[in-house]
């Protein structure tokens, strides 16, 4: 069975989704979702432990060898992303039970979990495949289910933000299709490895740079790179809490992965950075993203929105690492992929707990929660410290590598600006912490600590934030290995 692990990773959730939709019992469909995500985690770990040493797993779907059929291709890079997605899913799904019961009508919950699993399926499918058109198909599975999940928020603005996301996401996907089409017309192939062999011959045509540009714009839309991030704050703010925690921690990460895969594997770093000089665009955009959206985050009154803007800034950190186009920079970016998933997952889950008890996530609604919901707010503090980049949290590890990569590239001012971004994080996180701990609570609203079923997943993520901040050996090893693969460096 372990030979089939790459495909089983995707197919098991894919089979679970229709079953969950048909089952009328809320609990059973939730259990199916849990099972699917835990399976994914198991499979992801299996894949990662096989490719950690540098092995590449290739799986020919339908028995047709690449490039004639669709190939699943797993190396340390996507095994890493798959692990991130599966790990977050397997924590977020147990968490969802209570939260969803409170926020989604019970007669929709089965379908909700079906869409949830489909979203997971899509994200895993994108990450595991070695075929560019297959990317598009699974991208749409994850996107469509994400639009539907987001639209289920209680505020009516959930609908408009889902619509906005749908339009921008579809434009992005169509751009990607155009880019894939141009590449296909120039080479006649869709397999990533095959493309990477055939593209050099046609690199000096005009079509390939344009294909590159369209793919870059398409992925930037999907990963919410400034200034194409406009869909993200609304979507994260108004989606149901569990959905926000899940999607915020995974969807943009997978989009970053796709961008990496196309830049480094399909086109090759030499083309992307020496010919196209995409770093000249990405680096400034990343810096502007970090600074401007952190500034916007500082002024938010709704904490989920605040965290959403913070996400755009954090995506800036990842892209910053990518734009350095060095092993160190990519390591930083890939590390932050994982680390940011942990911290944002924890923060949004904490907000889900607040939503569950208080019914609002505005800052003024947090007054006195430090005492009333001590575990939830303590989790928020740890997650927040991680965002800030305090040592002994994962955020610090990311920052350490990112700054070091910037300094190694001689960009001391970039390193300094990264630090400024951290300081802005101090402000927006501490605004919340201050209100939670130093403002008196309104009397007698009977707010109590969130249920254990939500607290345990939340604290699993918090513990991971600290554990991987203290013992980053595994994460740095895999991220470095993945970065070396992308850069084509053999160690």
């Amino acid at each position: 069975m372990s030979d089939h692990l790459p495909v089983l990773l995707v197919v098991v959730p894919l089979i679970a989704a229709p079953i969950a939709a048909l089952i009328r019992s809320v609990r059973l469909s939730w259990l199916i979702a849990c099972g699917a995500s835990w399976w994914a985690l198991y499979a992801a770990w299996g894949l990662l432990s096989r490719v950690r040493g540098g092995e590449v797993i290739s799986y020919a779907l339908g028995g047709w060898p690449a490039p004639y059929g669709i190939e699943y291709r797993v190396d340390a890079v996507n095994a890493w992303v798959i692990l991130i997605v599966a790990a977050i899913a397997s924590v977020a799904t147990p968490y969802a039970y209570q939260s969803v019961r409170r926020e989604v009508e019970s007669d929709r919950v089965s379908l909700f979990y079906s869409a949830w699993i489909l979203c997971l399926t899509g994200l895993l499918g994108i990450s595991v495949t070695g075929d560019v058109f297959n990317v598009f198909v699974f991208l749409e599975i994850s996107s469509l289910s994400a639009y539907a999940l987001i639209s289920l928020g209680q505020d009516r603005r959930a609908l408009t933000s889902a619509y906005q996301y749908l339009i921008m996401g579809s434009i992005g996907a169509t751009f990607i299709v155009i880019g894939i089409g141009l590449m296909y017309i120039m080479t006649g192939t869709l397999n990533m490895m095959d493309l990477s062999e055939r593209l050099p011959a046609v690199m000096d045509t005009r079509a390939i740079p344009v294909a590159f540009a369209f793919l870059t714009v398409g992925f930037s839309l999907k990963l919410a790179l400034f200034p194409l991030h406009l869909w993200l704050p609304n979507a994260y703010t108004f989606a149901p809490s569990a959905v926000t925690a899940f999607i915020a921690a995974t969807a943009t990460k997978v989009a970053v992965y796709m961008m990496l895969r196309f830049f480094f594997t399909v086109f090759g770093a030499a083309f992307a950075f020496d010919v196209m000089q995409v770093d000249l665009i990405l680096l400034p955009l990343a810096l502007v993203a970090i600074l401007s959206t952190s500034l916007v985050a500082i002024h938010q009154q709704n904490v989920k929105r605040l965290l959403a803007y913070s996400s755009v800034a954090q995506i800036g950190y990842m892209i910053l690492g990518v734009s350095l186009a060095s092993v160190a920079g990519l390591t930083a970016g890939l590390l932050h992929l994982f680390n940011h998933a942990l911290m944002k997952g924890a923060l949004f889950m904490a907000m889900g707990c607040v939503m569950y008890r208080v019914g609002s996530v505005r800052i003024d609604a947090m007054a006195g929660l430090g005492k009333k919901m001590p575990w939830t707010m303590a989790a928020f503090v740890v997650g927040g410290l991680s965002i800030i980049g305090v040592p002994l949290t994962v955020g610090f590890i990311s920052k350490w590598y990112l700054v070091q990569a910037a300094l190694a590239a001689g960009l001391w001012w970039v390193a300094a600006l990264v630090m400024v971004g951290s300081l802005m994080a101090v402000i927006y996180i501490w605004r919340v912490v201050e209100v939670a701990y130093l403002s008196p609570a309104p009397d007698g609203d009977g707010v109590a600590e969130a249920p254990l079923a939500m607290l345990i997943p939340l604290w699993v993520l918090v513990a991971a934030n600290v554990y991987f901040g203290v013992n980053a050996g595994l994460t740095t090893e895999v991220a470095t290995r993945a970065a070396e693969i992308l850069m084509g460096v053999t160690s």
Binding site: L385, I388, G389, V390, P391, L392, I397, K399, W400, Y401, V403, Q404, L407, A408, W412, A415, A416, M419, V420, S422, L423, V426, W430, E434, Y437, L438, P440, G469, V470, N471, A472, G473, T476, E477
Partner: protein, 488 residues
């Protein structure tokens, strides 16, 4: 007990004590006995490290490798032992004091207070024994964060604003400057492990090294070198035991300790002496000394005056480091201890006055010396130590610092030290003189039943005042440790 066990215990025992405090929250006497007992045991254990230091044995313990090449590690060296000795001695004393103070003041949330207090000590111990810049930075930040709840203890608007300034300055400087400097050092040198004589020499261009030194000195916000000193007066809204132990001893000394450690173990005195920016930093410290003293003059609030005095005195130590010679380091190191004992005595006294007479303003302390002779007597002794005159310990450190300026050929700096001492003479001694020799103001609405503070407070004041004098008679381990530090 092996040295490694001791340094591990030094970090962990206070944290365990914190857990126990939290657990025993409902039984106040038991709860407060925990830190006193732990602290005493801790002091005894750390004192046993003197032998290790004397033997010159290298003791390093790596807890965990965080990222490849960087580990969370502790080690034993003279400067750290000195800092740990001071902090561990004063912790139980301050706890004793806090028992009297907090109860006398009817403070709320005492369990939370004692818990974070203990954690802060653990963090300070971590700073003292850290074996590399990363570990140092980690504990430094933990110390910042754990003291935040103490600063904002009263949860008032004032406390909240103070907390913002406190955290704002300390985190800003540490993240924007210190962390950047640490990562930069790692980038150029490939290591962050403390090595006697430094590890930066020859790793980067002089320009980069100069920039690094500036980043380190200003990045240690806890050293309160101007213009990053505003957090210290702000932190005075905290209950007095916090001001006494943390903002006169543990937190601020963690700052200047870092500066000294960076000078000795990251740059090395030789390299420091060569860098163009070092004298400039010395003069920045000198300016802080003078301005701090002058501002202290204008403060009528006793704790504020002591805070500015602290700012001024901390820069003595920074100055010592920037002199880049053995005398400067010895003087700076000893001043960590001497200033600690002197200043804590002063803060204890200030708190005692607040508890017993509810007075904060110096201008309203006329005649109080007659009802509180013991407190004001101790205040007098503490003042002498800060000013640097016998028979108080402070005279030793000032002597060495003066020698250091001569050695460095900086007569101007010597003059600054002199002037500052004169200023101290005036602004500190004003308090006991008013208390003892002025009659009570006629409009005084002071209650008639003012008498000395509660007994635990007095015992604590007695201990620190006695120690201040004793350190003049015999500067003992502190002098020895610093000599060991500078003699290869």
């Amino acid at each position: 007990m092996s040295p490694v066990t001791v340094i591990l215990a030094a970090v962990l025992l206070p944290v365990l004590a914190a857990g126990l405090v939290l657990f025993l929250g409902r039984w106040p006497n038991l709860r407060e006995a925990v830190p006193i007992a732990t602290g005493t045991a801790l002091f005894a254990m750390i004192y046993s490290l003197m032998d290790v230091v004397r033997s010159g044995e290298v003791v390093r313990y790596s807890l965990i490798e965080v990222v490849p090449g960087v580990d969370l590690a502790l080690h034993i060296e003279p400067l750290g032992v000195l800092f740990a000795l001071v902090a561990s001695f004063l912790w139980p004393v301050t706890t004793l004091y806090a028992v009297g103070y907090m109860r006398g003041h009817h403070e709320e949330n005492q369990t939370r207070f004692f818990t974070f207090f203990a954690i802060s000590i653990g963090a300070a111990m971590g700073v003292a024994f850290s074996a590399n810049l990363f570990t140092l930075f980690a504990f430094y930040e933990v110390l910042t964060l754990c003291t935040f709840p103490l600063v904002t203890h009263h949860q008032t608007e004032e406390a909240r604003n103070a907390g913002r300034i406190y955290l704002g300055i300390l985190l800003t400087t540490s993240i924007a400057f210190q962390l950047l400097a640490i990562i930069w050092a790692w980038q150029v040198a490939g290591t962050v492990d403390f090595v006697r004589g430094g590890f930066l020499e020859g790793t980067a261009s002089p320009l980069v090294l100069n920039v690094l030194l500036v980043l380190f000195v200003f990045g240690v916000g806890k050293a309160a070198v101007m213009p990053f000193h505003r957090w210290l007066p702000a932190a005075m809204v905290a209950p007095t035991p916090v001001s006494a132990l943390l903002h006169a001893v543990a937190v601020v000394k963690a700052g200047v300790f870092t500066v000294l450690k960076v000078a000795v173990y990251v740059f090395g005195l030789d390299l420091m002496g060569e860098l163009a920016v070092t004298p400039w930093l010395a003069w920045t410290a000198a300016a802080t000394i003078l301005i701090g003293s002058l501002v202290a003059f204008t403060k009528d609030n006793l704790k504020a005056r002591l805070a500015y005095s602290t700012i001024s005195q901390l820069s003595y130590i920074v100055l010592g480091a920037m002199l880049a010679n053995a005398y400067g380091i010895i003087g700076g190191g000893m001043h960590i201890a001497m200033h600690a004992f002197g200043k804590i005595t002063l803060f204890f006294a200030a708190g005692a006055i607040m508890v017993a007479a509810h007075e904060k303003k110096i201008s309203r302390m006329h005649g109080l010396g007659r009802t509180m002779p013991f407190t004001f007597g101790a205040f007098f002794i503490g003042s002498l130590s800060i000013i640097g005159v016998p028979p108080a310990g402070g005279s030793w450190s000032k002597w060495y610092l003066g020698m250091g300026t001569m050695e460095a050929g900086q007569v101007g700096l010597l003059a600054v030290l002199m002037v500052s001492s004169l200023l101290g003479l005036v602004y500190l001694l004003e308090v006991p003189i008013r208390a003892f020799f002025s009659p009570p103001p006629p409009d005084s609405r002071r209650p008639d039943d003012v008498h000395e503070a509660p007994l635990p407070v007095l015992i604590a004041i007695g201990i620190t005042a006695t120690a201040t004098v004793a350190l003049f008679v015999n500067p003992g381990p502190f002098h020895e440790l610093m000599t060991l530090l500078v003699t290869p």
